[in-house]
Structures are given as C-alpha cells and as structure tokens.
C-alpha cells in the first residue's frame, strides 16, 4: 500500500493545481500581468513533481545531471530568443 | 587612435579593423610559426621509436594559464573598442539636422523616399558632408542594405525598421558617370533570383546641385 502513496500524492497535487489555475483565470481576481506569471510558476511546480517522481529522479539521482543540463540549455534558448525582442 | 569620428564611418571602421588585425597577426604568427617550427626542431631522430606514455599529467600548467590571461586581456580590449565603435554607429542624428530617407528593399531593387515625398528606385542622391539617416525595411523577403564603400550596412526585414546613418565627403577616389563621387549600393542577403543584381548607386553632390535635384520632379 505504501508504494501507492507517492503516486497518489503527486496526482492529488497536480489535479488540485490544475483546478486552481482554472479558477484563477475564471475569476480574474488579479490583473493578467500578475496572473500569468503565477499560473506559469504553478505549472513549473507541477512539472517539478512529475520530473522528480514520474521521471524517477527521486529514485535514481544521477539522472538529475541530464535533467538540469536539458533545462539549462532549453532555458538558454528561450531566454536568448525572447531577449532579442526588446529594442 | 580615436575610434569614434563624426564624419567618416569608414575611417572609424578601419581603425577598429586594424586593431584586430594587429592582434591577429601577432597571435597567428606565434601559433602557426610554432606549428611549423616545432616539428622541425623536435623531429624524431630514430631512437625514440618505442611508444612512451606517462601516467602523470604532463606539463607545466603555468603556460596555459598565461596564454588564457593574455587572451582575456586582448579580447577585453577588442570588445571594448568594438562597443565604442558600435555606439558611434548607433548614435544617429535626428531628422532636423539630417536628411531622413526611407529605404525599402524589394525583389530586386531599392526604393528611396525623401522627406518631401520624392520617390526614386535604385538611385540615392545626397549632399556632401551632410548627415543622412536611412530607415531601412523590406517589402517582401529578408534583404540586407549596404554601402560598403562607406562601411555601413543593415538588414532589411519585413515589419522591422533598422536605422543607419552616414555623412559622405565631397572628395573621393571613385567618380562615377554623374561626375560626382559615387558609391555602390548592394544587397547582402540571398533574396532570390535577382540577388546579384539588386544594386544601386549613391551619388554625393555639392549642395547647389543637390538642392536643384531635390526640388525637381525627375529621378
């Protein structure tokens, strides 16, 4: 039974966050310049959990090298491209 | 050695180029020289045939450290000089003191529109020693507008406006058919079949001739 806790916990979190994200947009209580970053940060938190447990980094820690490197180069691509927009 | 000069982008450019060239020649001579010299100096003399391998890493790392420090120092200098020159290129005068011309590239020619609405294709006439600001864009594909003789260039992209400027002296080494100083305008980005033929002429006139031209209706 114990081994089911982690998957259920992860699932519970991501479903809850999904609902929260939808509610935030539905009720537009914040301006979009604050709302959008919040939603994106929430998405990152979901991704972190999935990467940690779904992609097994929690159980086989050396893979974190690949995860961090991939995240680094991808972030680099996006940052440099978006940075080129500013005048 | 002044890097920023008001009138002549070409001279400014050349100073910067020469700075890089000096460093390049020094670095190149030492490196290529060693690559040629060392095989001769340390050629195999017949007795050193058996493969030698050392377990410990070979070499005094101070040499590499020194080279890296030298490189960083050199590259910092060149970067700083480049930034200064680029800054000069970017600080264009406004349209009160300069003649602002709209430049539009299309397949396969350059369209120039003067402040008074005068519109000419392929030919840009300017008065000498006067700042001219060019606002460059494209009507279709990616082109690149350049007057190489004056060392100015910018890309011509649909939806973007890139600004460059120059001020051409009245005396030069390349007189054209018009009897005035002429410079070649050309496209520097592959833009289709007519890329090689997407040229134009810059004609640098004396103030009176330019005035007559500007107020007339012909090309």
């Amino acid at each position: 039974m114990g081994y089911k806790l982690t998957p259920l916990g992860v699932w519970g979190y991501v479903v809850a966050v999904t609902i929260v994200q939808m509610l935030l947009v539905r009720y537009q209580s914040l301006s979009s310049s604050v709302l959008n970053p919040v939603i994106i940060v929430l998405a990152f938190s979901e991704a972190a959990l999935i990467v940690m447990f779904g992609l097994q980094i929690w159980y086989e820690k050396p893979f974190i090298i690949l995860a961090v490197a991939s995240a680094f180069f991808t972030a680099l691509a996006i940052t440099l491209a978006l940075g080129s927009i500013a005048h | 050695m002044a890097f920023a000069s008001v009138a002549e982008p070409a001279a400014t450019y050349q100073s910067l180029f020469n700075l890089y060239l000096i460093f390049a020649i020094i670095a190149g001579t030492i490196t290529i020289g060693s690559l040629i010299l060392f095989p001769i100096l340390y050629r195999r003399k017949g007795t050193d045939e058996e493969p030698r391998t050392e377990k410990k890493q070979r070499g005094n790392l101070k040499v590499i450290g020194l080279v890296i420090v030298l490189m960083i120092a050199t590259l910092s200098t060149t970067a700083y000089a480049s930034f200064t020159v680029k800054d000069f290129y970017l600080r264009h005068p406004d349209c009160k003191t300069a003649i602002c011309v709209e430049v539009e590239g299309f397949q396969w020619a350059w369209n120039f529109t003067y402040p008074n609405g005068k519109n000419v294709v392929g030919l840009l006439r300017v008065p000498q020693d006067t700042p001219v600001v060019l606002n460059v864009t494209s009507r279709d594909v990616f082109h690149s507008f350049a007057i190489q003789g004056l060392r100015i260039k910018t890309d011509a992209i649909l939806g973007r406006h890139n600004v460059i400027w120059f001020s051409a002296p009245g005396s030069c080494s390349s007189f054209g058919k018009s009897g005035f100083c002429e410079y070649r305008i050309q496209c520097f980005e592959l833009c289709g079949l007519g890329h090689a033929f997407m040229t134009g002429r810059l004609i640098v006139m004396d103030p009176t001739s330019f005035s007559n031209y500007y107020n007339s209706s012909g090309p």
């Binding site: 779904g54 691509a77 | 890296i68 260039k153 973007r160 890139n162």
Partner: protein
Amino acid sequence: MVKTWLKRWLYTTDHKDVGILYFVTSFYFAFLAALLALFMRTQLAIPNNKFLAAAEYNQAVTMHGLLMVFWFLSPLGIAFANYFIPPQIGAKDLAFPRLNALSYWLYAFGGLVAFIGFFSPGGAANAGWTNYSPLTSIQFSPNAGETLAAAGLIIVSASVTVGTINILTTILFHRAPGMTFMKMPMFTWFIFFTMLQMLWAFPSLLAGLIMLESDRILGTLFFTSVAGGSILWDNVFWFFGHPEVYVVLLPAIGAVMEIFQVFTNRTLYAKKIAVAAGFAIVTISFMIYGHHMFLTGINVTEQEVFTINTEAVSVPFGALMVIFIATMYRSAVKLATPMLFALGSLAIFVVGGLTGVFNSSLALDIAQRGTFFVVGHFHYVMVGASLFGLFGATYYWWPKMTGKMLSESLGKLHFIVSIIGFNLIFFPMFFLMDMPRRIVTYTADTGWGPLNLIASIGSYIFIFGHLIFLSNLVRSYSRGPPAGPNPWHGTTLEWTSWKGGGPSPMGVGASSIGRPILSSLSADPHNVKSSHGSIGPEIAHQHWSSRPIQLSLGLSIALAGLGFGFPIFVLGLVLLTWALVGWASDDLHDKFMVPDEPPGDRWPFQTTTKLKLGMWAFISSEFTFFGVLLGSYAFVRYNFSYWPPPGSIHNIPVAGVNTIILLTSGLTMLLAVQSIKTGAIKHVRTLLGSTLALGVVFMIIKGSEWYDLLTGSPPFTPQTGLPGSTFFVITGIHGAHVIAGLVALVYLLVRTRNGWTPGKRATVEHFGLYWAFVDMVWVFVFPLLYLV
C-alpha cells in the same frame, strides 16, 4: 554470393560495418557537393560569366552547403566514431546495434530525399543552407525542392537523435572495467562532446523545420507573419546552427589529438585541461549564435553579450592550441601523412579561428556580414580544420579498417596539393570584403575579377588533390601492402588489444582492462592482420536485421511525400507501419540477439539500466524540442499586439477536464511502475490497460475539441492566424506523442500477455518515463495555450 554480400550490407548492425557504410556514403555526398562547388567557382572565375544561370547557381550554393555540412563532414566523423569508439573503450559494439543501422539508413535516404530536389520541377532548394524566412515560404519558394530539402533535414534530425542516444549510452555504459572517464582516449572524449552538442542542438532545428513545413504545406504563419517571422527563424535556426559547426569540428580535433600523441610519441600535454576545454566549448557554443544576427536590429545589450560570449569561446580553443604545441615540445615528431594533415588542420584552424574573432565584433560585422570575408572564415574552419583533420584520421585509421597501408608518397602529395589549392581558394576571400555572398555573378568594374580567378584556379588544384586521395584509397584497397595490427605504434585500445588476445601492457596503463575484445571475432583467422576480415555466418546471423532499412525507407518516402504529394506520403506511411510492426514482432519472438556487455565502468550511472539511460537521453532531446516549440509560441505572442483573451476561443472547462484525464493516466502509469518495482505485479496489466483507456479518452476529447474549432463559426484553423497556427501545431505534436505512447502501450500489453520476465518488467519502467514526460509537456501546454 551477391545475395550474401547484399544481405550483409543492407541488414548489418555491426558497428564496424555501419562505420564503413557511413565512410563510403559520406564521401559519395562529398563528391556531389564538391562538383557543385566546382560549378560555382567556374561561374565566378570571371565577371559576367554565363556558365550558370541565377536559378542554377542558387540551387548549387544551397545544396553545396547542406550536403557538405549534414551529409559529409559530420557523418564522416560519425563513421570513425562508429568504428573506433567500441574498441577504444573496450566494448564489443554500440549500445543499440539496430538503432545504429537505423541512424545510418535514415541519414542515407534523407540525403537522397534532399538531393532529389534537383530533379523536381522548380529545382532543388535554393534559399541558402540557412533557409532564411520568408524566402523559404511557399510564396517565395513555391518549388518542391525546398520542401524536400527540409524533409531531408527532418530525416537527418531523426538519424542524429537516434545516433546521439546510441553513442552517449555506449560511452556511459559500455566502458570496460577500469576504463574511467579520465582514462578514455581523446577521440572518444571529443565524440562525447559532439554528442552532447547534438543532443541539445538538433531538437531546435527539428522544431524549426516542422514549423517551416507546416507553413509550407498547412498554411500556418510561423515564419511568414510580421510578428516574428524572420527573426524567429533566425533564433531557432542559429541556436542549432552555431553548435552544429562545432559538431562538425570536434570529431576532427579529437582525431588530431590521437594522431598528435602517436606521431610525437608523447601523451597529450595537460589532458585534464583539454577535457575541461571541451566542456567549456560545449556550454559556451550554445550562447553565441547571435553573432549571425548582429544587423537584424536586435537590442544592443544582447548584441554585446553575444560579442563577449563569442570572444569567450576562443579561450578554450586557445588553450587547446597551447596543448597541441606543448605536446610537440621536446618530443619526437614523425612527419608521416596523418601528422602532416593534423598539423595542416591546426594551422588552418588558427587562421579560421582568428578571422572568427573579427566576425565576433558587433561593430566589424557591419562591414563583414554577408560578404566573402565570412565565406573565407567558415571554409577555413570547416574545410581546413575539420576536413584536413578527418583526412588525417583516414590516413591514420585506414590500416586498421582495411588491413592495408596507404601510400606515403601519394599521401604527402595529396597534402601538398591540398594545402596549396585550399589556400588559393579561400585566402583571397579575405580581401573580397566588398563582395556579397551567394551572388551568381558580378561586373568587371567592381575589380573582383582577379581574386576570384585565383580562387577558381585554386579550386581546380584542390579537386586534383582529392583525385590523388581517391586513387590512393582505391590502389591501397585493391593491392596495397598489408598492414600489421599496429603500424603506427599507437597506444589506444583499438591498436593494442584488437587481436583477440590478452590485455595491453601499455596505453591506458590499467591492467584491469583486459577482457578479450570482440570475443565473437576471435574465431576469425584474419583477425591478426585486419580487424575488418570476413564475418562468419554465425556472426552475420546474430548481427543483422532488415527492419532499420525498411523503417528508414518508409519514413523517407513518407516525408518525401510532403513534396511529391499525398499518395507518396501514404505509401511511405504504409511501409513505415509495416517496418514498425515487423520490428515489434521481431522483439516479440526474440529474433535479434546481441551478446550482453559484461558490467564495466559505469560511473555515474552504476545502478541504472542501459535502456533507461537511452530513454533518458531521448527525453532530454525531446525536452529541448518542446522547449523551443513553446518558446517560439512565447516569442510570437510577445511580438503580436493582439492575442485572443483566455476563454474567448477555447473551452477551458473541457480542456481542464481533459487535462485531469491525462494526469490520471499518468497516475495509473506511475502506479504500474511502482508496482513493478515493489514486485506487486498482479494488477500491472490492469493499470496499463487503464492508462491506455484514459489516453484514448484524452485523444477523443481532443479530437472533438479540434472538430468544434475547425467547424465553428467563425472557424478557428491553423491558417486563420498565429493563435490558430500555434494551437494546432503544438497540440498536434503533443497529440502525436500521445498516440505513439498509446501504440507502445498496446505493444506492451501484447508482449506481457504470457507472463513477466525481468526484461518485460523493465520495459514498463522505461515506458513510464516516456509517459511521465508526455504528461509533463501537457502541464505546460495547457496553461500556456488555454489560460494565459
């Protein structure tokens, strides 16, 4: 007799055979590309020449670049990597032999797809190897050739992705006991660096190509709209393009390091620094691509960053130069042909690298951009440094590949003619800074005639050098003097231990590297003279599969169908499906057996499995792929003043429910994986089935969502605007990944219907990684496309 020969070469999965295939094919493409270059130089020799028309010239210059970069230089490096990495690290073969063959056939057929453009109406691709937008849009390049070239590149991207995973897993997993990272030969190290660059660079190209083909065929607006367009392509292409040029270079530098050590009879000076420099080059190379965009109008601060970073990359290269020179200090240099080419490669690289510093300046680039100065620079690094290094590698490793020696005198002649010819072509170009690139002709009054004539004469001399080379290869292969197992007294394992015998007393110094390499070949009586002896029938049986070539053919025909029409696309898909089913069926019946590598040095992945590592490498590249795709979406949005507010087009509650469905399928999958790990396998198949069911529901809901959007009033389609283009392409690609996962799930369920073996349990874990990744992507796609 012919049938066995054919069967061997079409179906081989042995790394040496695949290496030979890469070797021969890359020279074939080089020959085609060199012919194109010869045509171009002939055309440019004199002003106003009429040898080639503009249309022909543009095709020549485009295809010359594409073929040389993607189908010659890089694959030649991979040929040597294939052949020599396993012996260098003490392995029997690459990690995934069938994937190796797949890489090769994808590469070969991809080249044919691109080249066939020459025979299509409108001719081959003609917008430059850089494929700038909007010239490559269907409006300005209506010819099928551009579609075919992009399709060929997509196929090559697939080839590279597969090959990268393979070689990285091999280096991480197949090292013999005692072969720690620091004991690895420098060639293997530099291939390792090359693979790292490919892993993260090619996905960007792939994303760009998919968006490009989508623009051309589906009418989306990624690169044709004003909001993004050219600059988006510039970013996406050059993020790939700059690391790519080091991908082309690093294998040659690795080979030069090997050659240097053998022909100076010393170990490399400061080997640890060389490795550190390699890591620095890999990292920095991704941060400098903006030097191709200095004049596009991007903001100055970013330009300054790119200037500094580009200058920074010359520091590790400078360190490498010191290392090479210092290795020669107080050594015993023997100027055999491999060493001549190695030295030549480095000398030419210095010129190329220094002119690169000129181009790194955001100010100097104002005059140099788009001119022959740049053409001179990159040919010095690509042809000079890379090609000469690879020529050296050929002379160096030929005796091991064929068991014959090449002629030293012809080799030296080749070197002299090449060095002269090469410099005659490209050095004058540094004085042609006023001449634009890619122009079909020029007028006499420009004064460019004399230098162009010299360059063209040089090109004929250079080609003559290649003919000398070719004759040397042919002569040696057919009747050259036999070579011993170690003619150069090399110390790396491919020379010292490839005898089927005991450990090498020298070289890496650790006697724990000792198992007989290639024990399966020790029965080969030709083994002592040449490692490339005939492969006995039992080996051929173990080591062949017909599926890689079938799969590659299917995929290539399908993608060629993008240019040739829907029937061809369908034909390709049918063939592809048949090959995939065949591959799966082979696995179900355990038809392809490769002996396992005994455990060796696997740091830092000691506790994981080979397939898991391969899956992780694959996910790493996919991560970048989706990152670039979503980044392009963000780029486009930032540039677009108007974007439909959330909820105005899409049905958020439905999408939210669908998201939860997909996440729940992730839960059942994760439970399945955890069950496998804890041994509770009773319910695993039910969990897999639930995952499958939930995934199918997800796709059905997505399909109905699409249907409603496409048939709504007004219709929301990929062609109506960027919101449509981005939505359909991104969710479409994600959906394709889901479907692929569902197909794999079906296969998993079929495979496990008769009980569980350790291998089958592991497969569930590996699939779990993929499925978690697909979930993770959606966790970003959902808010980005629906909520913000």
